[in-house]
């Protein structure tokens, strides 16, 4: 028997499923409110929460080895590095008057 990957209860999957549907409704609902410069942040917070639920429960990363968990986290972390370095370039070009923005 596989001991490191326990069988998840249907109830747990159902609860995550409902949370994801509520999250989808919430995303649409809050899009009609204006949070000023926080609009993007609020929408992405809901999306990241939903994605985390999928990764942790549906994809079962909670039962994976630490090595697999590190790879998962590293994947998303590299994405942030790419966004961070990419935008630190584009956002600072106007400061120096560099052509091409």
């Amino acid at each position: 028997m596989s001991t490191s990957h326990p069988v998840t209860a249907v109830r747990t999957y159902a609860a995550v499923f409902i949370a994801l549907l509520v999250g989808t409704g919430l995303t649409v609902y809050i899009a009609y409110f204006d949070f000023g410069f926080l609009n993007t942040f609020v929408a992405l917070t809901v999306a990241v929460t939903k994605a985390t639920l999928v990764v942790w429960y549906f994809m079962g990363v909670r039962y994976n080895t630490p090595l697999t968990k590190v790879v998962v986290v590293a994947g998303f972390f590299w994405l942030l590095i790419m966004f961070g370095l990419g935008m630190s370039d584009y956002l600072t070009r106007p400061w120096m008057g560099v052509p091409g923005r």
Partner: protein
């Protein structure tokens, strides 16, 4: 023959027939498959990540085009497709669970539901694309934005500069996502055939688990595409 010896027979009995010889145990084999799939999914994160970075850069350059473009997209259909994909992720997770508890029927039912929900997503996407083509929102030579009045007549729609970039990214991002859905459905058909032959059990369900990881990943991409393309335009720029 070595296999005729008592040791050889004992060896054959100690291992699950599906266990490859370079693994110590079925658990290690499963974890190795999962790790391998995640390494592939990391490359997928970076692949879609490049498009998301392009989205961020051009949205920063053409905020007005992003607001206008986003408001043209069909929010009810986008929300419907989000719900459809979440349902398919549930049935996918339940298919893996069915394999873990050795239920052939549970695997078959949930895999068929997953395939049907994935197909539903693509059908809805087809109607969305058809509407965009009809309204001249395809970047390039045929770019001719119009909007439909209440009586059905088409009137030219003025969109700010950069709107073609928004729709380029809309079609590329959702198009590549849809291509991933097609691949996922093909994958599920293979897994369904394997489940039909009752190949999976509590000891051996790696193919269902690993294909499921791919399916859930495609769902996650849509979880980000939906607010970023369909919804965020409403208030961006404040």
């Amino acid at each position: 023959m070595a296999d005729d010896t008592a040791a050889g027979i004992a060896h054959a009995h100690a291992h699950h027939p599906r266990q490859q010889h370079h693994f110590h145990s079925m658990d290690q084999q499963l974890e190795a498959s999962i790790l391998g799939m995640w390494v592939f999914l990391v490359t997928e994160i970076m692949f879609f990540g490049g498009l998301f970075l392009a989205y961020i850069v051009y949205r920063w350059m053409y905020p007005d085009a992003w607001i206008a473009g986003s408001n043209v997209l069909n929010v009810p259909l986008g929300a419907l497709n989000t719900a459809v994909l979440i349902c398919s992720s549930l049935t996918m997770a339940l298919a893996v669970r069915a394999a873990q508890v050795g239920s052939r029927r549970g695997q078959i039912v949930n895999l068929i539901l997953t395939i049907l929900l994935g197909t539903t997503f693509l059908v809805v996407k087809y109607f969305e694309y058809a509407e965009k083509f009809h309204h001249g929102l395809v970047p390039g030579a045929f770019w001719n934005p119009v909007h439909e009045l209440a009586d059905g007549t088409l009137e030219p729609l003025h969109l700010p500069g950069g709107a073609q970039l928004f729709f380029s990214l809309y079609f590329i991002m959702t198009g590549i996502h849809a291509a991933h859905m097609v691949v996922g459905i093909g994958l599920m058909l293979v897994i369904l055939a394997m489940a039909w032959k009752d190949m999976f059990s509590a000891e051996y369900y790696g193919p269902v688990e690993v294909s499921g990881l791919y399916w859930h990943f495609v769902d996650i991409v849509w979880i980000f595409l939906f607010p970023l393309l369909y919804l965020l335009g409403y208030h961006f720029g404040h």
